[in-house]
């Protein structure tokens, strides 16, 4: 035993050190919620669904990077590789599935098992609790909305097939980040709103997916079958975030007849509406213990 070796008398004792306050509580709950959704520290069955969603989101990016690395561009043609804007649409199904998983897991679970009351007995209040949960849902969604295009950008850059100069690279980087944040914000707000209305995770998951797919089906039917104004598409909760992504990348999108300002306004409106639903719901929620 060296001279410096000591036997420490551990055990329960008082703590006089720094306490992180509300900021630390928000960080901790957000981090814990993300880990929970991704199945970290939980049995294997909880890891399957997030892993499948992440694989669906990242696998095409890896394939495209592989194609770009292994085959000459003049052999496969530039059109064989999707644009960054198209890629987000390409993995839309993974994003929707992930939406159906994330918000219900993050929000419903706490109400169902009573953890909400325990959290509200800490420095967190309802508002700050929701800030933590929104941060968790948005950050988790960005794993599939922001991660794959960033991976493409980095991989293409290393392969020499990325943007031409530093300026173009930075513009593309900002577009990738902006579109990832935008799509995550809208889907987070909508899925949190749906999840705030039920105490059953399965119902919430189905509800999130039904709201997204249902609004899209109804808007399409009204525009195409009932020949209503194209602006009815603004109520298409599934298509509008992807349309906004197209516009952020400077492309015309699937609905060029709708002005970009309207597309942006609709997305901001849906994000605010979803947030307001959650906020009102939690203000009125009775939490006694």
């Amino acid at each position: 035993m060296s001279d410096e070796a000591k036997i420490l008398d551990r055990g329960y004792r008082s703590y006089e050190g720094h306490r992180s306050g509300v900021g630390g509580a928000i960080r901790s709950v957000a981090w814990h919620s993300m880990r929970t959704v991704l199945g970290v520290g939980r049995p294997a069955r909880h890891k399957i669904f997030p892993a499948v969603s992440v694989i669906i989101a990242y696998l095409p990016a890896l394939v495209f990077v592989g194609i770009a690395a292994l085959l000459p561009v003049d052999l496969v043609g530039e059109e064989a590789l999707p644009s960054y804007a198209d890629y987000v649409g390409f993995i839309g199904i993974a994003i929707v599935l992930f939406c159906g998983l994330v918000a219900p897991e993050v929000l419903v679970r706490d109400r169902r098992d009573g953890m909400l009351g325990l959290y509200l007995s800490t420095p967190l209040q309802r508002d700050t609790y929701l800030v933590a949960k929104v941060a968790a849902v948005m950050t988790t969604l960005m794993i599939v909305t922001l991660g794959p295009p960033l991976l493409l950008l980095i991989a293409y850059t290393f392969e020499g097939s990325g943007p031409g100069g530093v300026g173009d690279w930075l513009v593309l980087f900002v577009r990738i980040v902006a579109s990832g944040v935008a799509i995550s914000a809208v889907f987070a707000a909508v899925s949190l709103a749906a999840s705030s209305l039920t105490d059953r995770r399965a119902f919430a998951s189905v509800g999130v997916i039904l709201v997204l797919l249902g609004s899209s089906a109804v808007a399409s039917a009204l525009v195409e079958a009932a020949e209503m104004s194209t602006n009815v598409r603004l109520f298409d909760l599934l298509a509008m975030p992807f349309e906004l992504v197209q516009r952020i990348y400077g492309e015309t999108g699937d609905f060029p007849e709708i002005e970009t300002t309207l597309v942006a306004g609709a997305n901001i409106g849906w994000a605010l509406f979803g947030t307001a639903v959650v906020w009102f719901r939690y203000r009125r929620l009775a939490v006694s213990r």
Binding site: G17, G117, L118, L124, Q125
Partner: protein, 309 residues
């Protein structure tokens, strides 16, 4: 209301529609272990919810650790631990991860939270079990996990809502001993909500009793249940002493003891057991009555409730 208090409540009223859950309460809870007693629906959980800031009272003021929850709620809750009655434990989480997480939420740095989670679980007797998923634990172990998370962030005050719920007698004894220990050894004040009067008598220094939202009693346990000892005597008159029971009662009363008579049963209350025993022996011997039954009688919290109109 004088002296140091950990919770002070003045004119507190909580109204749910037409129902008044708490009715103009004035309570001063001093340091130590305080029992909040009352039947289900008495208003215990509502009072705890208001103290924690989970509910806002209809009227009145509350002060916790000298601070107003409306103004400094987050600061108060960082120093208050809470173990709810309801099972709020995530089944698939390890006990140590759960306690660590809530310690971080209460403001501890990550490393400190990890160390204190282990220390707290060792303290409540779950050191060896701390890496087990909570879903695999028994009811007694889960109650201990709830206690561990309540104390892990070194609170000044812990609120424990029915912490012995679902425990067998041995587990209940151990839990009550732990509650006493966290006050005696670590100076953490405890507000213990329970509908089991006997366990409150065993572990608490101070009692707040509620009934249908009204304050029945608030004071040191010793004052509420009294220092006087008592015996219950059932006597039999013998043929040649037809008034012997009356004579025994008169003799005991003349000795300065409180005597109540109900037929052949005398309830005698005195300052201590020795005085009581000597006076009873002498009176019975002198007046010739026979003792059919003799049992000790101590005033309890149950008596306190039974005496309410």
């Amino acid at each position: 209301m004088q002296g140091v208090t950990v919770i002070t409540v003045r004119g507190l009223t909580m109204q749910f529609g037409a129902q008044r859950a708490l009715d103009n309460l004035d309570i001063a809870i001093p340091p130590g272990v305080t029992g909040l007693v009352g039947a289900n629906g008495a208003g215990k959980t509502t009072l705890m919810s208001i103290v924690l800031g989970l509910r806002e009272a209809t009227s009145g003021t509350v002060e916790v650790l000298g601070m107003d929850p409306k103004l400094l709620g987050s600061r108060i809750r960082a120093r208050v631990g809470y173990a709810p009655e309801r099972n709020v434990l995530p089944e698939d989480m390890k006990a140590v991860d759960f306690v660590k997480h809530l310690s971080e939420v209460r403001g501890l740095p990550r490393d400190e939270a990890r160390n204190r989670a282990s220390d707290s679980l060792w303290l409540v007797g779950l050191g060896e079990e701390r890496f087990r998923a909570i879903g695999t634990m028994s009811t007694g172990q889960r109650q201990r996990v709830k206690l561990a998370q309540a104390i892990a962030a070194d609170p000044k005050l812990v609120l424990l809502d029915e912490p012995t719920d679902g425990l067998d007698p041995m587990q209940r004894d151990q839990m009550l001993a732990l509650i006493r220990q966290i006050n005696d050894e670590f100076g953490i004040d405890v507000l213990l909500s329970s509908h089991l009067l006997e366990e409150v008598e065993r572990v608490c220094d101070h009692v707040v009793a509620l009934d249908a939202g009204q304050l029945v009693a608030d004071g040191p346990l010793a004052d509420l249940i009294g220092g006087n000892e008592g015996v219950e005597l059932e006597l039999v008159e013998i043929a040649d002493r037809p008034r012997s029971i009356d004579d025994v009662a008169d003799a005991l009363a003349a000795s300065g003891l409180d005597v109540e008579r109900d037929g052949a049963v005398l309830t005698v209350v005195g300052p201590d057991t020795d005085v009581l025993a000597d006076a009873t022996r002498d009176a019975v011997a002198e007046h010739g009555a026979r003792i059919r039954r003799l049992s000790s009688r101590k005033r309890t919290l149950e008596d306190l409730f039974m005496e309410q109109p």
